[in-house]
């Protein structure tokens, strides 16, 4: 059964990348300072040791002043940045630019999981209300209960700001649902409309390949053709 002669038949792409991890564990750098810097960069998400080395070598070629500026920018970003007292978004002041903007509808709150979602929705330029960043979603399995999230501040906001509509823009999964139901339950006696972003067939997606649940949801949440066309 063992026919080593046949190994050459194995498609090349299948066996590509020969043992990158082994090789890099043995990476020998002549300087501890260099090695420390590489290790720091490699801690960043999506950066492996190889890329880290490339970035560090690039910095090494720059002027000292330029690299100092780079370092200071990072430090300042971390020490000076604040989180908006009202919505939890990143901010340079106690209240973020979105909350402070009088042109935005302050009675409309879009509830998101994290700051990245705020950026994603802002990039669409389709939303002119405010946000509320939960800082996660409810998942007891991961040790995240309602008290770990900015839920109380949200219910307080709805009460004091006389919010008219709460839009949930959470990921369409079970924990997202749990979080929505939980908050809904907490605020059910308040006169605030609750909606969620539509879930359904992705634009450019093909019906045939959508799973049954998505297709069923799209049918339930169907739109008048007029609004469908104008939304495209």
């Amino acid at each position: 059964m063992l026919i080593p002669f046949f190994i050459h038949i194995i498609p090349a792409h299948f066996l590509a990348k020969p043992y990158p991890i082994l090789y890099l564990c043995k990476m020998q750098l002549a300087s501890n300072l260099l090695e420390n810097a590489v290790n720091e960069f490699a801690k960043l998400p999506g950066i492996g040791k190889k890329t880290a080395l490339r970035l560090v070598l690039h910095l090494l070629k720059q002027d000292t002043a330029e690299v100092s500026h780079f370092g200071e920018t990072i430090t300042k970003m971390r020490t000076d940045i604040q989180f908006c007292n009202r919505c939890g978004n990143v901010s340079d002041a106690a209240i973020c630019t979105i909350c402070a903007n009088p042109l935005r509808n302050q009675r409309l709150i879009c509830v998101v999981e994290n700051i990245r979602d705020v950026i994603a929705i802002e990039n669409t330029q389709q939303f002119s209300g405010t946000y509320h960043v939960l800082g996660g979603i409810i998942s007891p399995l991961d040790g995240v209960g309602p008290e770990q999230l900015n839920i109380e501040s949200l219910t307080n906001r709805i009460q004091t700001e006389e919010t008219e509509e709460l839009i949930f823009a959470l990921n369409p999964n079970i924990q997202g649902d749990t979080t929505i139901y939980y908050i809904q339950k907490k605020i059910q006696q308040l006169p605030c409309k609750i909606t969620t972003i539509a879930r359904g067939i992705a634009f450019g997606g093909e019906l045939e390949y959508a799973d049954e649940l998505t297709l069923a949801r799209s049918l339930t949440n169907r739109l008048p053709v007029g609004s469908y066309i104008s939304n495209r």
């Binding site: 059964m1 063992l2 026919i3 080593p4 046949f6 190994i7 038949i9 194995i10 498609p11 299948f14 066996l15 990348k17 043992y19 409810i138 998942s139 007891p140 399995l141 040790g143 209960g145 309602p146 008290e147 079970i174 924990q175 649902d177 749990t178 139901y181 939980y182 339950k185 907490k186 799973d211 049954e212 649940l213």
Partner: protein, 361 residues
């Protein structure tokens, strides 16, 4: 029917690289102990279910000392050809492609290329705890209904969340009632869907199994089968509500569809207490053949049948009955393994059917 034309195995268990071509409906696979017969069947199972029949981690299937494996097959399903490809990368990431397109969710593959496997240890289905039987029923229903699988995956996740919440409540001596209420609602919704589906299905499945058993074993020892579920008499909402104090004390969910079972009995006694080994085997075959028939009926074509070492423990008459059933009456591709080439040959010749033999060294 579903037909495997070609199968290529790379670095999969004892295979470094091997390629097989099949042309007949009946394929006999012979070879000594340890020659890779079961592994070959499992490779086919992998391509139908995106995972091993023997619930072991993907990495254990990589040929010792190597990294990654690759399974590839050309199959024909109702006159249409498909290329199935399963790759375990060096970093243990699994990819599954059909005609070059990678699945986003492996669960969407389940049921498109159905197969039924019967392996020697499967009698555990009858003698072991209820978990094996639920797994059997779930595997079958998941192939029939994508929605069922989705509900099942959700149910399992919510159950884990609920149990974690019960634990956290005990640790911190404080419970968020509102959150538990919501998890109960979410759990109940899925449980009700799953229960309804199982219950409907049993009306059809139980008589089918009994009929198969009779045709393998002959009239005489009649098997009684009962679908047990706590949901027969109570809604899931009610079960959760009534059991809450106990659940909080035990820190886990004590009632629900995860306690369902199939109960077998013969002459008013538990089947596993009185049945002989041959009778157990017969019941196992009856369950699997009923599964095969139902899949065939729902899908409109015959699944692939994988029969591993079935010659052990069945008497000649039962064996002949069984082979006649699966090789002659069914339009299906059947893979049968045995250590004795001659035994396979003479069995097929007796039936007077076309077949091919693969001899493993």
């Amino acid at each position: 029917m579903l037909f495997f034309r070609q199968l290529m195995l790379t670095q999969f268990r004892n295979y470094v690289f091997d390629s097989f071509t099949f042309t007949q409906n009946v394929v006999g696979i012979s070879g000594a102990n340890g020659s890779g017969k079961t592994n070959l069947l499992d490779a086919i199972h992998y391509l139908c279910f995106t995972k091993s029949y023997f619930s072991r981690p993907d990495a254990q299937n990589v040929h010792q000392g190597m990294q990654g494996f690759r399974l590839q097959a050309t199959v024909t399903r109702q006159q249409q050809d498909f290329e199935l490809l399963c790759i375990l990368r060096e970093n243990n990431r699994k990819e599954f492609l059909i005609d070059g397109d990678a699945y986003k969710k492996f669960s969407s593959h389940i049921g498109r290329f159905p197969c039924v496997m019967i392996a020697p240890d499967d009698v555990e289905l009858i003698s072991n705890g209820s978990e094996e039987r639920r797994k059997f029923i779930d595997t079958l229903l998941s192939q029939l209904n994508e929605d069922y699988l989705k509900n099942l995956i959700d149910y399992t996740k919510i159950l884990q969340q609920r149990n974690s919440l019960l634990k956290a409540a005990a640790e911190h001596n404080r419970l968020d009632d509102a959150l538990l209420d919501i998890l109960d609602e979410q759990l109940s919704e899925r449980a009700t869907n799953i229960y309804n589906r199982r219950n409907d299905f049993m009306q059809e499945f139980i008589p089918a199994v009994q009929q198969e058993y009779e045709s393998i074993a002959g009239k005489g020892d009649e098997v009684h089968i009962n679908y047990y579920s706590q949901l027969h008499h109570n809604s899931m909402q009610r079960l959760l509500r009534e059991n809450r104090p106990r659940d909080l004390y035990l820190q886990r969910t004590g009632a629900g569809i995860h306690k369902d079972d199939l109960e077998f009995s013969m002459q008013q006694q538990a089947f596993k207490n009185i049945a002989s080994q041959g009778q157990r085997k017969s019941l196992l075959f009856a369950l699997k053949l009923a599964e095969f028939n139902i899949l065939k009926q729902y899908k409109g074509f015959a699944p692939v049948l994988l029969l591993d070492d079935i010659f052990e423990k069945l008497d000649a008459a039962r064996m002949h009955n069984l082979l006649h059933k699966v090789c002659v009456q069914q339009q299906a591709q059947v893979f049968i393994t045995d250590t004795h080439k001659e035994r396979l040959e003479s069995a097929f010749e007796q039936l007077g059917i076309g077949f091919e033999l693969v001899k493993l060294e």
